[in-house]
């Protein structure tokens, strides 16, 4: 089977962002020597020039923000913070959703009914408004941020897993192992769970992309990461306040954000096309 060129391109882009995220402290930080490549940390204020909202030049490749911090450095560390936090959010959501969905599909009955009602209320909730409300009422911290991202994040995973469990439950191989006297735990974890993961895995890159977008939206409105933490949304928030004078605050973080989420989504959709047997021709 031929793998489309787009898979390689988007995969390379994703890898590029991951490398930037992992090596951010060696790319831009305070220090001397060859590494870090750029001698400004995300919180370094360039006091020698006294330059705030300075246009891009040889020293500050992407200009400086409103307190004189290097935009390139904040961008690199912003990618790091956004990616690492989003990955944790996505994995916790996945674990929660898969477990809850598995329990719903495995046991059925009133457990399923009860959890379905809860899912229905959460699913119909104006979630973005709820997230903003909670973030507005509590001091900004990663804990609260994680909590608001988890409220509804597990629901899609739960739906996928529940449907897969319901489908697999009555197949021969499960019946067979039941007849052989396998325990419920064994059937749940060894037979049903591994076989029901493919829709979940296909959904992962898309969820990662949309988690990054939502996180950016929250920090864009001023309710995101703790104050002073570099993030893509925070730079764009500055861009909103200074859009008449500082185009570099909008262009570089905006383009990075778009490229980042786009490459994740493209990579995800090429993976889906490759993995999904219905799409192969």
């Amino acid at each position: 089977m031929r793998i489309p060129r787009l898979t390689y391109i988007s995969g390379a882009l994703v890898a590029f962002f991951v490398v930037i995220a992992v090596f951010a402290p060696w790319i831009a930080n305070e220090g001397k020597g060859f590494f870090p490549l750029v001698k400004f940390g995300p919180e370094t204020i360039d006091i020698f020039k006294g330059d705030f909202l300075g246009a891009p030049n040889a020293t500050h490749l992407m200009g400086t923000d409103y307190v004189g911090r290097d935009v390139f450095s904040r961008l690199v560390h912003g990618i790091r913070n956004s990616l690492f936090f989003s990955i944790s959010v996505v994995f916790i959501c996945m674990a929660m959703g898969v477990l809850i969905g598995g329990v719903m599909g495995f046991f059925g009955g009133w457990v399923d009914l009860f959890l379905s009602r809860i899912m229905e209320v959460i699913g119909n909730f104006p979630i973005f408004l709820l997230q903003l409300t909670l973030l507005a009422f509590f001091d900004q911290s990663y804990g609260v941020l994680l909590f608001v991202m988890l409220i509804a994040g597990w629901i899609p995973y739960c739906r996928f897993t529940r449907a897969e469990f319901l489908r697999l439950r009555n197949l021969e191989f499960v019946q067979a192992s039941l007849a052989m006297g396998a325990s419920k735990t064994r059937i749940f974890f060894r037979h049903l769970l591994p076989n029901s993961l493919s829709p979940v895995l296909i959904y992962l890159p898309f969820d990662l992309s949309s988690t990054i977008i939502v996180l950016g939206a929250l920090s864009f409105l001023g309710f995101g990461e703790p104050i002073n933490v570099a993030s893509l949304g925070e730079l764009l928030r500055q861009a909103k306040d200074h859009f008449r004078t500082a185009w570099w605050l909008a262009v570089f973080p905006g383009a990075t954000m778009f490229l980042f989420t786009l490459s994740l989504a493209l990579f995800g959709s090429s993976l889906r096309d490759i993995l999904d047997p219905r799409n192969s021709k």
Binding site: L6, E120, V121, N124, F125, P126, I127, F128, L129, L130, L132, T133, L134, A136, F137, F138, S209, I213, G216, A217, F220, L221, G233, L236, A239, K240, F243, R244, T245, W247, A250, V251, G254, M257, F258, T261, L262, L264, A265, L266, S269
Partner: protein
């Protein structure tokens, strides 16, 4: 049919009730008192000024907004008022909340409805052509375009539009503040329309990207589905021209799912409203929600939760209803 609708409506109100109960509880359990926020606002927020307010005045304010009563009684009072469509008075300016909503809802509705209509007008032809020329260069281009539109966050697009077209270092083509110019009242009818249209372009573009991508994708899938149906094969076998097979037989039937998803898009549009409206200072529901959150204006926040949830549930309800209306084969009583 009638029994089904009735059941759905009852369920709708139960879900709505559940949502108001949860949001009311969250709001009341939140730390910090709105009275402090209000006093802080009146006295520029400095602590020394705040202590100038006597305990007596503080208690009066608490009593005025029922903040001295326990939570379940407050929720009861709120429900009693809401049954008469009375959303209470705003903590901030003491205006009835319903008045504020009456100003804001039409603005958001105009943006929401027009972005759906525009997306339909562009997305349906795009999806149609993409499906007919399946696996062509155009089709693959559309597929990438759809993913790109999904991945382009509203706020990134908005910021870039502001920077490049809103009168910064680049072009100054569009106004970026509000829905009309300051001298709107002096303009005649025609100039007024033009002025509003001018203000409308950029925010509407931001509203449209998500819905456009969604509709294009759905329309493509829907046509492909219709083209694989038996009636299309029959039409071809009868010798109907391919053009008419597509346009009359497949296309008409492919519109059924499209009609029904329109209602389901309402929640997404309302959610995006907060960002677009605060970006362009549009006095709609989203901006009201944002402002009331910053001011801890509980009655307004509650009203926003209720209205947003109600509109979303109504959207889903209408979309189910449309499903039955446009496709006589579907019968909900059997479900």
């Amino acid at each position: 049919m009638r029994a089904y609708l009735l059941k759905r409506l009852v369920l709708l109100f139960f879900t709505l009730w559940g949502i108001t109960l949860v949001s009311f509880t969250i709001l009341q359990l939140a730390p910090g008192s709105p009275v402090d926020a209000k006093l802080g606002q009146n006295s520029e927020g400095s602590l020394s000024d705040r202590s100038g307010i006597t305990e007596e005045q503080r208690r009066q304010l608490m009593a005025e907004f029922h903040l001295d009563k326990p939570i379940h009684i407050r929720y009861g009072l709120w429900l009693k008022d809401i049954a008469r469509l009375d959303f209470g008075t705003s903590f901030m300016d003491r205006r009835p909340v319903i008045e504020k909503l009456k100003e804001r809802i039409p603005v958001s509705l105009v943006f929401g409805i027009s972005s759906i209509v525009i997306s339909l007008l562009i997305g349906i032809p795009l999806g149609l052509i993409s499906a007919i020329k399946q696996n062509s260069f155009f089709d693959r281009g559309i597929a990438v375009f759809v993913i790109a539109m999904y991945s382009l966050p509203t706020y990134v697009l908005g910021i870039l539009l502001l920077t490049f077209l809103g009168g910064g270092d680049f072009l100054d083509l569009f106004p970026i503040y509000g829905i009309q110019s300051d001298n709107y009242s002096q303009l005649n009818w025609w100039e007024g329309i033009l002025d509003r249209a001018h203000h409308f372009v950029l925010p509407c573009l931001c509203y449209c990207i998500g819905t456009l991508a969604f509709i294009t994708q759905q329309q493509r899938a829907s046509i492909l589905e219709a083209l694989s149906q038996d009636f299309v094969r029959t039409a071809r076998a009868k010798g109907v021209e391919e053009r008419w097979v597509v346009l009359k037989h497949a296309f008409r039937n492919s519109l059924i799912p499209i009609v029904t998803i329109v209602g389901a898009m309402i929640p997404a549009i309302l959610g995006g409203g907060v960002i677009v409206e605060s970006l362009f200072s549009i006095p709609g529901l989203g901006l009201l929600a944002f402002e009331s959150l910053l001011q801890r204006d509980y009655p307004v926040i509650m009203a926003n939760f209720t209205i947003t949830a109600f509109l979303s549930l109504l959207g889903i309800f209408i979309s189910d209803l449309m499903y039955v209306l446009v496709d006589p084969r579907i019968d909900f009583e059997g479900r």
